[in-house]
């Protein structure tokens, strides 16, 4: 059964986020204000480790298109505004904090809105 391993992957992923400092929005904001390069030292090892394992699984990329770039820009605006991306948002839910609960509720609405737009188009 794979699900216990999947569960463990989530646990380790969350602990990695915690140790790296990425659960703290002020740390991400400091990176985006070019005051703290820590995020580079988080992404660097993560990408290198993933690249070693995924080498055999490279896929032919779809072309770069407008939704990719526009979506990334919209995400970047929200990320810059708050210093929060989806992973840390979820992990922070374990704390009784209205900000993160509100953020995640709004994020789910955003995800649902995108799905509705896709269905309609």
């Amino acid at each position: 059964m794979k699900l216990p391993i999947t569960f463990a992957c989530g646990v380790v992923f969350a602990i990695g986020l915690g140790i790296s400092g990425m659960l703290r929005p002020e740390k991400v904001i400091a990176f985006l204000e070019l005051r703290d390069p820590a995020l580079l030292f988080v992404m660097g090892p993560a990408v290198i480790i993933y690249a070693m394992a995924a080498w055999e699984r490279r896929k032919v990329d779809r072309p770069i298109d407008v939704p990719l770039v526009a979506g990334a820009a919209i995400f970047g605006a929200g990320w810059g505004l708050t210093g929060i991306c989806p992973g840390p948002a979820i992990v922070n839910l374990v704390r009784p904090d209205a900000f993160f609960v509100t953020f995640v509720a709004a994020m789910l609405v955003g995800i649902g809105a995108r799905a509705l737009v896709r269905k309609a188009s």
Binding site: A51, A73, A77, R95, A113, R114
Partner: protein
Amino acid sequence: MNWTDIGLASLGGSLIGLAAVALLVTSGKTAGVSGILEGALLREPGEAGWKVTFLAGLLAGGLLLSLFAPWVFSALPPTSPVIAIAGGLLVGFGTRLSGGCTSGHGVCGMGRLSKRSLVAVIVFMGVGILVRVVL
């Protein structure tokens, strides 16, 4: 930023990479949190099960951190509900329009040497920096 910060950042990043690799190798799935959230939210057939399981793991990891390493969380998280709502909407809609977030594009996509993911990362980091400079 000192050597301890760099060490912790690298250790944390390595754990994130290892978790993503373990998911890829054992299930062939991509550890992209925004896509996992979408699949769980919309009860995507055949996918929702592992996605809900991964999310439960994230929360369990968070609980462990809050018990044994509470300092990894912010002492003073931001408070404005307007910012929380605006930020959440933008992050939710934008990541799904783009097909990934910091984990899906930033770690897994870049790790696959995907040009799409590289472009997405440059754009969301660039816009994030721009927003901070303007604010």
